[in-house]
Amino acid sequence: MTMDDFLAQLDAQLYILTPEERESAVAYYREYLEEAGTDVRAAINALGSPQSVAQRILREIDENRVVYDGGTPNQYEYADPLAEFKTEYKPEQRGGRLGLTILVIVVTFPIWITVFSLWLALAVTLFAVLGSLAFSAFAACIHGFTVLGSSLGQALFEIGVGVTCTGLFLLLWKPCWLGVKYSTIGLGKLCKKCINGLMGKEN
């Protein structure tokens, strides 16, 4: 094999590289063989095949770390030069996910604002029902007693309404209170679960 043959084959083997990288490699080996002087053939034999020379260049450019074994071209090992860094580097879970969490909270705004609004509406409604029952019971009873002297029928009716409202209040305050209480607790737990899930923590 002549020097030109060798360099042409090397160039062909490096087709995957940029023209600049190829020229650099071919120029290096042209100079190298020229330096070898009279015994170019021996120098080419010492280098090995253009394929094996190209392999070395390609593997190096592939950013793999090479462990040279002292000359036998087929026995080198390759390892990821960043392997050490990759195993040692663990991103801070909280900090790393905080941005994501905020993003998800913002993006899911239409969902959680609906859930929150429903909860608020339920609570307000239940308290309003209880409040109006209590007020009605109180007002009807008081007014009933004030008109007791003038109009017995109206008084009895109003006291009846008041007692009915009192009964309804007594009947409903506990379920209403429990409804508000447990929906609040449930919503709180749900929020906590979602946030913890997003932040990558154990629940």
């Binding site: 290096y28 100079e31 020229e34 330096e35 090995g48 070395r56 260049i57 190096e60 090479v66």
Partner: protein
């Protein structure tokens, strides 16, 4: 017998180039006086060191053709100094086991 790691190869090349401005063929020859490295080993090393900014190249005419010389940079010198420190440490660690002679009975 003992494989030369990529880091050691880098360190040795840096040391050779730090001594004098030199070229690929001569670097290969010099390396081969100390270690069994193949002829195709050095180009990727030189290219990498050059790309990392540890070495720089310049061309000089020689006998009617071009010779590409390598010269060490400030960064390359800093790397070389660190390599020498690390090598001392590495050598001492190996020696602390390997070179402690057994008791003669």
């Amino acid at each position: 017998m003992f494989p030369i790691s990529a880091a050691l190869l880098d360190a040795m090349v840096l040391s050779l180039v730090a001594r004098e401005e030199t070229y690929g063929y001569k670097i290969t020859q010099d390396m081969q006086t100390a270690a069994k490295v193949s002829e195709s080993t050095l180009y990727p090393v030189l290219r990498r060191l050059q790309k990392n900014g540890a070495l720089e190249t310049f061309d000089r005419a020689f006998m009617g053709r071009n010779r590409r010389y390598y010269r060490i940079t400030a960064l390359g010198l800093a790397m070389l100094r660190q390599y020498r420190i690390d090598w001392e440490e590495h050598k001492d660690q190996i020696d602390s086991i390997l070179m402690v002679k057994e008791e003669t009975v």
